[in-house]
């Protein structure tokens, strides 16, 4: 399960009519949609990549997994930090509305919750899932992952 920082701050994101939360410590940026570059691959959850401040960031539409349908429109990309074995990388999640920073207390997920649920928040009369990015977005199985010490070296392979 993705580690949740000690802080009680979360970012609420909107996918269609539903809202979900991500621990604020896992958020890098909220950016306007930009051109997606597509190339052949076999990871169906990934649409392509965007260029953001010199980095190449994969775009992962998590709506199908969370609300049962892909997004027909998108307003922003919420760029989150996804932890892999020994490294952190950025992933862009398309969202359909504004995001909101809130402070709340998280109830940990129960045994019967889906793997992508890290916990639950109560906010504005809604009960909101806190997302476990490691379970929600694709990545190598831990046994196959190669540890890399930091983001810079993880994301750059010089010729």
């Amino acid at each position: 399960m993705s580690p949740i920082p000690d802080s009680d701050s979360f970012v609420l994101l909107r996918l269609g009519e539903r809202r979900f939360a991500v621990a604020a410590g896992n958020i890098a940026e909220l950016v306007a949609p930009s051109r997606i570059f597509r190339f052949p691959h076999r990871t169906k959850e990934i649409e392509g990549v965007i260029l953001r401040r010199g980095r190449i960031v994969p775009v992962c539409d998590v709506a199908e997994k969370l609300i049962g349908k892909s997004l027909t429109s998108r307003r922003f990309y919420l760029i989150v930090q996804r932890r892999y074995a020994g490294q952190v990388e950025w992933i862009a999640l398309p969202v359909t509305g504004d995001c909101e920073l809130i402070f709340a207390e998280m109830m940990p997920a129960g045994e019967t919750d889906m793997p992508h649920v890290a916990g639950w928040l109560s906010h504005d009369g809604d009960v909101i899932e806190v997302l476990n990015l490691a379970a929600l977005t694709p990545g190598p199985t831990p046994a196959l992952a190669t540890p890399v010490p930091d983001l810079a070296s993880a994301q750059e392979a010089h010729p």
Binding site: E29, F39, P40, H41, R42, I56, P138, P140, E156, A157
Partner: protein
């Protein structure tokens, strides 16, 4: 919400790459890894057909010296629509040749970003990484990623024993193209 400034870019050396297309898709390969570029027409006499249902992307073999090369259809390999291949790349230190639509240009890359870990299937074997050129992202292919060791074994087994290449990591250095920059079509070592 902003993260700290991106990591400092370390000084890097430039690498010559060939930008080429397979079924319209723009890809790149290190020019140093390409031994020879030939027109498909020049292969027709030398190529032998091969049919292995489990490795459909290879339909032909070409003997070069004592080595047998497997000609990979790039469109089938990447799962792209079929296209008309005009050129074939013969890679150094592999037993692979690749059918491509054509060459876009030769250029230089100064930064290669590892393929993000979110790409977690065969593509990790296909690409060395991604590079950004003129605000476009181009995957840089890995020549040894076109055929897995298992696929090579299957292909070898499908050939007559006398046709199997001897154990040899290198290829006969016939008509090499240099890794140095060149304008496609203007260099004498570019075989058409």
């Amino acid at each position: 919400m902003r993260l700290a400034a991106p990591p400092k870019t370390r000084p890097v050396r430039a690498e010559q790459i060939i930008l080429f297309r397979v079924s319209g898709q723009l890809l790149a390969v290190s020019s140093a890894s390409v031994q020879e570029v030939r027109s498909v027409d020049t292969l027709s006499g030398a190529a032998k057909d091969i049919s292995l249902p489990s490795v459909r992307k290879v339909r032909q073999t070409v003997r070069r010296g004592e080595n047998m090369l497997y000609v990979v259809n790039g469109a089938l390999h990447f799962g792209l629509p079929a296209s008309h291949a005009a050129l074939v790349f013969i890679f150094r230190r592999t037993r692979t040749a690749l059918l491509v639509d054509g060459i876009e240009k030769m250029t230089t890359m100064t930064r290669l970003q590892a393929l993000p870990s979110a790409f977690c299937h065969e593509e990790q074997q296909w690409y060395r990484g991604l590079t950004a050129l003129d605000q476009t992202v181009v995957p840089v292919v890995k020549p040894e990623g076109f055929l897995t060791p298992d696929e090579l074994s299957l292909l070898d087994a499908s050939l007559q024993p006398k046709e199997i290449a001897p154990a040899n990591d290198g290829l006969a250095e016939a008509s090499p193209i240099e890794a140095a920059p060149m304008n496609v079509g203007e260099d004498a070592s570019f075989t058409q």
